[in-house]
């Protein structure tokens, strides 16, 4: 017992030393002295080593003895994160600093619109996941104590002793944490004393483990080569490592490194300088490397030297003890003790901050709604809440330790805890990298992952039959085979740990992502999301408050109650000065309110700080939500005005169309006028001659018979001209109106051409020579032969009239090409000038100085006829002379040859 008593005395002395270190550091911090130490990247790196708890101090050896090299993953994960994902850490630290984030719950809540629901959920989850971990530390310390008592006095290590030891340790740790963690409400929630103490403990545990390692290698094994030989000889190296388990463990420890509340505390909240991360990125992996250096030798030698059945989790202690090195054993014990205490202190601190900020304070504020600025000092409440939280959390850890009966290997409990905190990962990473992430998505993702974790990992970890019955393991929850804790969705044969991690994180991420896509973030969420994701773009402040009517006095009273009178006065005075005001009350500008909110959130969390300022400024001001709503409204108005613009574009398009239509109508009207003028002219001209000569014949006496005959003939010719003109006009009118009925007949093309040529030549005295190839013309047609003949006659007549060659000739060529028949009428004249070609098929278009007999309707009629016959007529521009082509669809030809 003397040894045990000695041990307890040493422990007490050690704790007293830590108190001293912490106290001095705190004092130095307050006085601004010793800043170099606090601001040293070394301290930051060492404080990160709270990652290495008693689990890694004792458990790594145990793990190596049981599962070979699997323990490496626990060191590998964090090393990968800090080396490879340095940028994630930098982003986290930047966000943490610029938003005065106090915990991981605060981070997630703040990101998703300062949601208190989310903060509470994360807090409760954190408490649930970390409690087993605290129990683990209590267990390891009490176990290690029992080793000493067992060595000293066999049978003395009764469970009762262990439990009371654990209780005393818990009480001691609670006192330490309360004293140093809640000495004051620091604006930025930093705890210099604690950090320094943790750094000191980091040195102790490293040196202790290295000392044991050196002793084992050189003191027991007899040197490095012998050790290596023994390792080779042991079956440790032959352990098969399951690839999926290896990957899952590495990932899990990496995730835990980022998400563990205590890691977040030292890494982000206590960070003094972003540059420290750079040093830590190589120094921390080095620390981990040194911590793991002697794990395998200790495990191998321990298995060899110690009697069968010794707990490998305690080799670090029992090996020196078995060799009679009590001093070393005691040092080693201090190392384990350090690991345990530093973890418990920081973890409890982090959790108590969350509990008080996100659970106690909101409830308190709600209970005293509207009286926040009139009642007493809130600081008292905050500190009390925090102290109580610490006691409750450590109490919970102790109860868990009792409930789990001190059973289970250390690593198993550790892994359960790791997998629990890993559920924060999707919401955290999604929150800082993805603007589209929403509160609802985060909340549901977290709850999904957490539920699965409880079902597949936490409850089964107590053992079959404790919380979950054997039936649930075999038949599934409610007898549903797809809901078995170790075989979700019927997928069996996976390692239970891999299974749990895979499903919980997979569904967590999936739910988070999908629901984020399908929900719409509220304005504050969007604002925060933008600030978190773009933290490197604008380190500027979010402009939220508009408190022109807020009373500075009220704000001052509230700030004093949270920050403390002195701190608050200093803040207000400096703000007043920076606004160029005399006195100590600044104008409640949005900038100032923003700053104040940040300062307050350092003490009570973002959600609470926001709520408190809302209480004072709220009723009579514009909140961020309101501003965003206004922004939304103006966005809608923009949208509306763009709709109006579209409308007006549409209208102006319609107007343009109307203008076009009008122009077209005007053109048509002008065409109609021109047409009427033309008709009038064409009708009046022959009538003029007729009238004039008929009057001459009537009125002139004594006219000779020759003259009489001459004038009567003129009247006759003009009357015929008039008739023809009227016929043509009627014909055209009928054709154009589509009132024409086709008279389909059957006949050969050759015969039709014969008839047309004969008719055309009948009116002239000297017929022109016409070339034809009768062989080509042997095509039987079924169409309106009279109409088609009319076209042919017109073309032949035109050639006769207008061909200016000395010896006029006309060639009629028939071709059957693919699905059409073409009939070309080509004379040896001069052709039609280019500028007239376009118009020549129009009514009354006459080319040049022509025979005045033609009214210019012939080609217009031809065109109308051909379109009625589903054919075409066009001018051949690329032949010698004047050429026209009549095109008939092949369908009209019944049978060629």
């Amino acid at each position: 017992m003397t040894s045990l008593n000695l041990l307890i005395a040493v422990c007490l002395a050690y704790v007293a030393l830590l108190f001293l270190v912490a106290f001095v550091a705190e004092r130095a911090g307050v006085q601004g002295k010793g800043g170099w130490l606090l601001r040293s990247p070394l301290v930051y790196t060492l404080s990160l080593s709270i990652y290495c708890t008693a689990w890694t101090f004792y458990g790594a050896v145990g793990n190596a003895a049981r599962s070979g090299l699997e323990y490496v993953t626990i060191y590998l994960g964090p090393s990968l994160v800090i080396l490879g994902w340095w940028w994630i850490l930098r982003r986290l630290v930047r966000i943490g600093r610029s938003h005065k984030v106090t915990s991981i719950a605060d981070l997630i809540s703040s990101r998703f619109g300062k949601s208190n629901t989310l903060a509470i959920v994360v807090t409760l989850m954190a408490v649930m996941t970390v409690t087993p971990y605290i129990a683990l530390q209590l267990q390891s310390v009490s176990l290690s104590l029992s080793i000493f008592s067992a060595a000293e006095q066999s049978g003395a290590g009764t469970p009762m002793d262990q439990q009371s030891a654990a209780l005393w340790i818990a009480v001691g740790l609670a006192i330490f944490t309360v004293l140093f963690g809640t000495r004051n409400l620091n604006v930025n929630e930093r705890h210099h004393g604690v950090v320094i103490a943790v750094a000191a403990e980091a040195v102790v545990k490293l040196v202790a483990l290295l000392a044991v390692g050196v002793f084992v290698v050189w003191g027991i094994a007899g040197g490095l080569p012998e050790t290596m030989a023994r390792i080779d000889a042991s079956d440790l190296g032959t352990w098969q490592t399951d690839g999926s388990r290896w990957t899952a463990l590495t990932f899990l420890s990496a995730a835990a490194f980022l998400c563990l509340p205590r890691m977040f505390q030292v890494m982000v909240v206590e960070n003094q300088d972003e540059a420290h991360l750079k040093i830590a990125s190589w120094a921390f992996p080095l620390y981990l490397f040194l911590m793991s250096l002697f794990v395998v030798p200790i495990a191998v030698i321990g298995l060899e030297v110690l009697p069968e059945g010794s707990n490998p989790d305690l080799f670090v202690l029992s090996l020196p003890l078995s060799q009679g090195r009590e001093g070393l054993a005691m040092f080693s014990f201090l190392g384990g003790f350090s690991s345990a205490t530093s973890m418990v202190i920081v973890a409890t601190l982090a959790l108590s901050t969350m509990v008080s900020n996100h659970v106690v304070m909101p409830v308190f504020l709600r209970l005293r709604q509207g009286t926040a600025s009139q009642s007493g000092d809130v600081r008292e409440v905050v500190i009390l809440a925090r102290r109580l939280s610490i006691l409750v959390i450590i109490g919970l850890g102790y109860i868990y330790y009792l409930a789990s009966g001190g059973s289970g290997a250390l690593t198993a409990i550790g892994l359960v805890s790791f997998a629990g905190v890993a559920q924060f990962l999707p919401a955290m990473l999604g929150g800082i990298f993805w603007r589209g992430a929403t509160r609802f998505g985060a909340l549901c993702g977290l709850l999904t992952g957490f539920t699965l974790w409880i079902f597949t990992m936490l409850l089964p970890s107590f053992g079959v039959g404790v919380f979950l019955s054997v039936e649930i393991f075999e038949q599934g929850l409610f007898g549903a085979g797809v809901i078995r804790p170790h075989a979700l969705f019927g997928i069996e044969g996976m390692d239970p740990m891999v299974h749990a991690v895979l499903w919980s994180l997979l569904l967590n991420s999936l739910v988070f992502a999908v629901l984020s896509l399908f929900t719409f973030p509220n304005p504050l969420e969007r604002l925060q999301g933008a600030q978190f994701v773009n933290v490197f773009d604008h380190s500027g402040q979010s402009r939220g408050w508009n408190a022109s009517v807020a009373e500075s006095e009220d704000l001052m009273i509230m700030a004093q109650r949270i920050l403390g009178a002195e701190e608050a006065r200093r803040l207000f005075r400096s703000q007043a000065q920076s606004q160029g005001l005399v006195g100590h009350l600044p104008e409640p500008t949005p900038d100032f309110l923003q700053k104040l909110e940040r300062e307050l959130s350092g003490s009570v969390g973002a959600a609470t700080a926001h709520a408190m300022i809302s209480q004072i400024v709220g009723g009579s001001s514009v909140s961020v939500q309101d501003l965003m709503a206004v922004a939304d409204e103006s966005a809608q108005m923009l949208e509306y005005s763009s709709q109006l613009e579209a409308k007006s574009r549409e209208l102006s398009q319609t107007a343009a169309q109307l203008r076009d239509a009008n122009t077209k109508l005007m053109q048509l009207s002008a065409q109609k006028d021109a047409f009427l003028s033309q008709i009038s002219h064409e009708l009046r001209t022959p009538m003029t001659s007729i009238r004039s000569f008929s009057e001459i014949l009537r009125d002139t006496e004594g006219m000779g018979p020759m003259e009489k005959a001459k004038y009567a003939n003129i009247i006759h010719v003009e009357a015929i001209r008039l008739t023809r003109l009227l016929n043509d006009l009627l014909d055209l009118s009928v054709l154009e109106n589509g009132q024409v009925t086709l008279n389909r007949q059957t006949g050969t093309l050759g015969e039709l051409l014969d008839l047309s040529v004969t008719t055309a030549q009948a009116s002239v005295s000297e017929p022109m020579k016409i070339h034809r190839r009768r062989l080509d013309e042997a095509i039987t047609l079924e169409t309106d032969l009279d109409r088609l003949g009319q076209v042919f006659i017109n073309l032949i007549t035109n050639a006769q009239k207008y061909c200016a060659a000395d010896v006029p000739e006309l060639r009629i060529a028939v071709n059957a090409v693919e699905d059409v028949i073409t009939i070309d009428f080509i004379d040896n004249g001069v052709g039609i000038p280019k500028d007239a070609r376009e118009m020549m098929f129009e009514k009354f278009s006459r080319i040049g100085a022509q025979d005045s007999n033609g009214a210019g309707l012939g080609l217009a009629i031809c065109r109308e006829i051909m379109s009625r016959l589903d054919g075409d007529i066009r001018y051949l521009g690329d032949v010698e002379g004047t050429g026209f082509r009549v095109v008939l669809p092949r369908a009209m030809a019944i049978a060629a040859q």
Partner: protein
């Protein structure tokens, strides 16, 4: 010496009719069929009266009339315009261009003779 009338017209039968009517009254009738050079022909012929068709090959009667009125020498020359287009707009255009008398085809011979007589008499009075 009978008065000289210059007829600008492209319809051969109408030329024939007007020539018959006017020469029977003792006036000298000269004719020209193309619009393009009509103004030059009028200037060089210096007739006592011009009978002008509107739809002429080369240049419209309105354009020829404007040319004549723009020239001091022919600014007051009596011009009888005959048109087959017979729309009210044509009369306005003709009057704007400075026509002395405007008639629509088909005309009665008596009307033409009266118009020519009036124009020659008025012109004589003025001169």
């Amino acid at each position: 010496m009978g008065k000289r009338v210059l007829l600008i017209e492209d319809e051969l039968n109408i030329i024939e009719a007007i020539r018959f009517l006017l020469s029977r009254e003792g006036w000298q009738v000269e004719t020209h069929e193309n619009g393009a050079d009509a103004a030059d022909v009028i200037r060089s012929a210096k007739p006592d009266l011009v009978i002008l068709d509107v739809m002429l090959p080369g240049k419209s009667g309105f354009d020829i009339l404007e040319d004549l009125r723009a020239d001091a020498e022919t600014a007051t020359l009596p011009v009888l315009m005959l048109t087959a287009r017979g729309q009210s707009r044509d009369r306005e255009m003709a009057e704007k261009a400075g026509v002395s008398r405007f008639m629509t085809k088909p005309f009665s011979n008596a009307e033409v003779l009266t118009a020519v007589r009036d124009l020659l008499y008025v012109h004589q009075q003025k001169a």
